[in-house]
């Protein structure tokens, strides 16, 4: 088994095919989208491949140390040009192909007009633990 991180972006990824902001959808389309996302996670729990999923607020701040005894320096809110992560799902699957297939499925969640969004998701393999047997 190998773990993968599926990242969804508020911005920073290439534009989706069906790129209409959500508040311009009909209420039924919004509900269908949410249902699809919930069903996807539930199904992955059922197959034993779901690990974790969280959504992030679009608000955030950069922080760095400014040396001992001084308060940290902050920069934000994030500039409009910045890549902004919206949320993630961690899956634990047998193969890279399976991870690709699942990411593709998630990207096809329904959007405006009930048509798939075809949004870009980022798929990142975890650096796993060092295996017991190496030779």
């Amino acid at each position: 088994m190998a773990k993968y991180l599926l990242l969804k972006h508020y911005r920073g990824a290439p534009s989706a095919v069906n790129d209409v902001p959500m508040d311009q959808w009909t209420p039924q389309e919004v509900e269908a989208h949410i249902q699809y996302m919930n069903d996807f996670a539930t199904r992955l729990e059922g197959t034993g491949e779901f690990v974790d999923g969280q959504a992030l607020s679009p608000e955030g701040t950069f922080v760095r140390s400014d040396g001992e005894g001084r308060p940290p320096v902050t920069d934000g809110p994030f500039a409009e040009t910045k890549d902004l992560i919206a949320g993630w799902m961690v899956i634990d699957v047998d193969t890279y192909e399976r991870a690709l297939a699942l990411a593709g499925e998630l990207s096809a969640a329904p959007g405006a007009g009930g048509k798939p969004i075809h949004e870009w998701l980022e798929l990142r393999p975890f650096l796993g633990a060092h295996p017991t047997v190496t030779e």
Binding site: P21, M22, D23, Q24, W25, T26, P27, E29, V30, E31, I34, Q35, N38, A55, S57, P58, E59
Partner: protein
């Protein structure tokens, strides 16, 4: 086996050990071990005197731990220490335990965890699951909390207000895992209310009961929110409402108003309306005035503006809202709601979309996005 009985007995058993001279942290550990043993053996044969059984077993667990500690010291220092003897106390120390677990030296997070374990009788694993943190993290949080209060005298007079704040925090966490924290908060507040004549304790209990009564109607099966005005009121729990109203009336009769009583009064007025249109908004505005007078809370001012929007019309509501800090959470959502009511749909749709972006949780974000979508659809005709 009666798990609830076990948990109800937990604080008084800890109290007995503390009265025998055991320090709180050690007593709490010993009682946790006794609870685990009870969970293993009671299903086959529940003792006739459950509390006596727990005291005996917890005492034995303490002695075992103490003897191995003594043996260790013995090897190191050759000093003999006798375990402190003492009679079983009949006095119940549960109230003292409430005070200790909500001691002002504890952070709210620590106080919540310690209260759920020592007063609530929950295991570390259950508390960790309820708060969605790893079990070792919760175990550390609890043992740090116990160290923090290790110098506090057990009989020290406590402050009910800090206990109420802790219980209110637990209630608001709701339920995420197997443990229903709202129900647990109600159980503990009931226990506390039975030990004191304090009006605000009664007020908090009433507030919890009245909110809990509406829970079946507050969300749909898929977790989406149903606003108060659209809830199926036949799904409200009428016996909880009746209990909440009775508790509140008794407290209000003593004429020592506080913020929890004022909040409960508002919840009672909502519960009193058979249909949303029958809500007595004028009285609700009056209670928000009281609440704001008592607390100066900007959130009370925000909710008051929404209530004025219902009592005197949306225009009056917007005027009241203009005086409230726009940076407040849910200010934008309240503004969107009132703008829709005055008929400014374009502004309402824009504000709902803005509010969705800054929503503090997914359920609210979905709800607000749906409102924006609904109005935008109406505008497109």
């Amino acid at each position: 086996m009666d798990e609830l009985l076990l948990r109800e007995l937990t604080p008084s058993v800890i109290g007995v050990l503390v009265r025998r001279g055991v320090d709180f942290a050690t007593a709490e550990d010993a009682v946790q071990e006794a609870l685990i043993q009870a969970a293993l053996t009671w299903p086959d044969r529940q003792p006739a005197d459950p509390k006596g059984w727990l005291v005996t077993v917890a005492w034995r667990k303490f002695l075992d731990a103490h003897r191995s500690e003594v043996a260790r010291l013995d090897r190191e220092r050759r000093v003999e220490v006798e375990p402190p003897p003492g009679p079983t106390e009949t006095k119940d120390d549960t109230l003292q335990l409430f005070f200790l677990c909500a001691h002002p030296s504890l952070t709210p997070t620590a106080a919540v965890a310690l209260t759920l374990r020592a007063v609530g009788g929950l295991t570390t694993r259950q508390i960790a699951q309820a708060y969605l943190v790893p079990e070792p993290t919760m175990a550390q949080r609890i043992s740090r909390a116990k160290r923090t209060v290790s110098d506090v005298r057990f009989a020290e007079p406590g402050d009910l207000a800090t206990v109420l704040r802790v219980l209110y925090l637990v209630f608001n966490e709701g339920y995420t895992g197997d443990i229903d924290l709202a129900a647990e908060a109600i159980r503990l507040t009931r226990q506390l209310a039975s030990m004191t004549e304090d009006e605000e304790t009664a007020g908090l209990l009433a507030l919890m009961l009245l909110h809990h009564a509406r829970r079946p109607a507050r969300t749909q099966a898929d977790g989406s929110l149903v606003p108060l005005t659209e809830q199926d009121r036949s799904r409200w729990n009428t016996s909880l409402i009746a209990e909440g109203v009775a508790v509140l009336q008794k407290a209000l009769g003593r004429d020592r108003l506080g913020e929890f009583q004022a909040q409960a009064a508002i919840a009672a007025l909502h519960a009193d309306a058979q249909r949303a249109e029958e809500t007595d908004w004028v009285q609700i505005v009056g209670w928000y005035d009281e609440l704001f007078r008592l607390t100066g809370s900007p959130i009370a001012a925000l909710n008051r503006a929404v209530a004025i929007g219902e009592a005197d019309g949306a225009k009056a509501g917007l005027a009241a809202l203009a005086a409230v800090d726009p940076g407040l959470p849910r200010h934008t959502a309240a503004s969107a709601y009132l703008h829709e009511k005055v008929g400014d749909l374009a502004t309402a749709a824009r504000l709902y979309a803005d509010a969705a972006r800054s929503a503090p949780n997914l359920a609210e974000r979905h709800h607000l996005t749906l409102q924006a979508a609904r109005i935008s659809q109406a505008l497109r005709g």
